[in-house]
């Protein structure tokens, strides 16, 4: 079975024939049972392709991915970035991240206060730069200073950003500040809680990241 129309059947299915060709093919289909049957089978192939389901890999690939991530985005994250770095955080992303942060903050603090025990976060997927408990006092002190510097810079840079962006950035900073304040209050009740200490440090780190990115964005627009 192979006539001049057989090789046009897929184009017919996909609507790629012009009106003249389509009319000719349909006239042929009315008289050629083989082409008509083949057309039906090809349509079933197309339908089956659309119904194929995704399958998980046989083994978990995360460990290899995690190992491959470390060199590219690891310990250097806390260092000063090149000033010309491309800004990559869109306003919707900032908002989404902050909402997630607040949810994580509230849930995490609640869990910590419920248990009143020292909880080590699961090490899987832990950021390489995540602070250790023993380093918290020094790390937090440095971060307070860094935040102060970055906020001063932001005050000067805000005029380069459009009003909507400034408003959303301020809202997001307020959310992060609230999370930091909550963590500090919780720590006053339970100063030795390792989870809360880590949570505070990580929330402050995220504030540093946000301030850096906004300042980078403002610098890029100067």
């Amino acid at each position: 079975m192979n006539d001049q129309w057989t090789n046009r059947l897929s184009e017919y299915i996909d609507g790629e024939l012009d009106s003249t060709e389509r009319a000719s093919l349909e006239a042929h289909l009315a008289t050629c049972g083989q082409c008509f049957a083949t057309l039906g089978e090809l349509r079933q192939v197309v339908a089956q392709a659309k119904s194929l389901e995704d399958r998980e890999p046989a083994k978990d690939l995360w460990a290899g991915i995690r190992a491959g991530m470390a060199p590219a985005r690891g310990a250097g994250r806390q260092t000063v970035r090149p000033s010309g770095r491309r800004f990559s955080f869109s306003v919707p992303q900032l908002l989404a991240a902050s909402i997630a942060l607040v949810l994580l903050s509230g849930g995490g603090a609640w869990l910590a206060l419920q248990s009143r025990q020292s909880i080590e976060p699961t090490p899987i997927g832990e950021s390489p730069q995540r602070p250790r408990v023993g380093q918290l006092v020094t790390w937090t002190g440095h971060t307070d200073a860094a935040i102060a510097d970055l906020q001063t810079a932001l005050t000067q840079n805000e005029k380069r950003l459009d009003t909507a962006t400034v408003r959303i950035v301020r809202v997001n900073l307020a959310i992060i500040d609230r999370a930091i304040a909550d963590a500090r209050i919780a720590l006053q009740k339970d100063p030795g809680n390792a989870y809360l200490n880590l949570h505070l440090a990580n929330t402050m780190r995220r504030k540093v990241e946000l301030l850096r990115r906004v300042n980078d964005m403002a610098a890029a627009r100067s």
Binding site: N7, L9, S10, E11, E16, T38, E41, L42, Q44, V45, V46, Q48, A49, K50, L52, D54, R55, E56, P57, K59, L61, W62, G64, I65, R66, G68, M69, A72, R73, R77, R86, S88, F89, S90, P92, Q93, L94, A96, A97, I99, A100, L101, I124, G125, E126, S127, P128, Q129, R206, E209, L210, R213
Partner: protein
């Protein structure tokens, strides 16, 4: 709001939040993105390349995604961005292993390359296996067009062929696969 719509909205918000957190260096958020999207990426890679390459290439896709997250600006869904990245990695792999264009445009190859469906049920080849047995060029066009929904013009651009070649490969792939329909 219907339950499914609400769940989809929450999932989309969660993915958007995780992609933003991952872009800021949060590996835990990136792991959640991996777990959400790995089946789709792995399946795409497995269908486009040989199955024994799928694990390595999938890992490569996610490592590149982590490295390139700073270029993801949230203008499309993270899944769409990741999927396009996966296609690019697969096509780069295709070039790197030296698949020659001459082989790709051999229009007779697909029909010769696929075994006929065996008559005994226990030996029957399912649709996925039949797809895997297609010659690479026809398989990639079929996956990109019929499974993933790309247009011939896009496929031709990605593969470095003319749209007519893409159409021809697609038709031959369909003709071969019709013998392996799950009925």
């Amino acid at each position: 709001m219907p339950r499914q719509v609400l769940e989809d909205t929450l999932t989309a918000d969660s993915i958007a939040a995780d992609s933003a957190l991952a872009a800021s260096g949060d590996a835990t958020a990136f792991e959640r993105l991996y777990r959400t999207h790995v089946a789709r990426v792995h399946t795409l890679v497995r269908r486009m390349l040989d199955a024994d390459e799928a694990d390595d290439v999938t890992q490569d896709v996610f490592i590149r995604a982590w490295q390139k997250l700073s270029t993801f600006r949230g203008e499309s869904a993270f899944g769409t961005w990741l999927h396009r990245l996966a296609v690019n990695v697969v096509l780069a792999r295709r070039k790197s292993v030296g698949i020659e264009r001459g082989r790709f445009i051999n229009e007779d190859a697909p029909l010769e390359g696929v075994k006929s469906k065996p008559v005994t049920p226990e030996l029957s080849m399912d649709f996925e296996e039949a797809l895997a047995s297609l010659p690479e060029g026809a398989r990639q066009v079929f996956v990109l067009h019929d499974v993933e929904g790309y247009r011939h013009e896009e496929i031709a651009r990605m593969l470095g062929v003319v749209p007519g070649t893409s159409k021809s490969q697609l038709h031959h792939a369909r003709m071969a696969l019709r013998r392996h329909l799950d009925r």
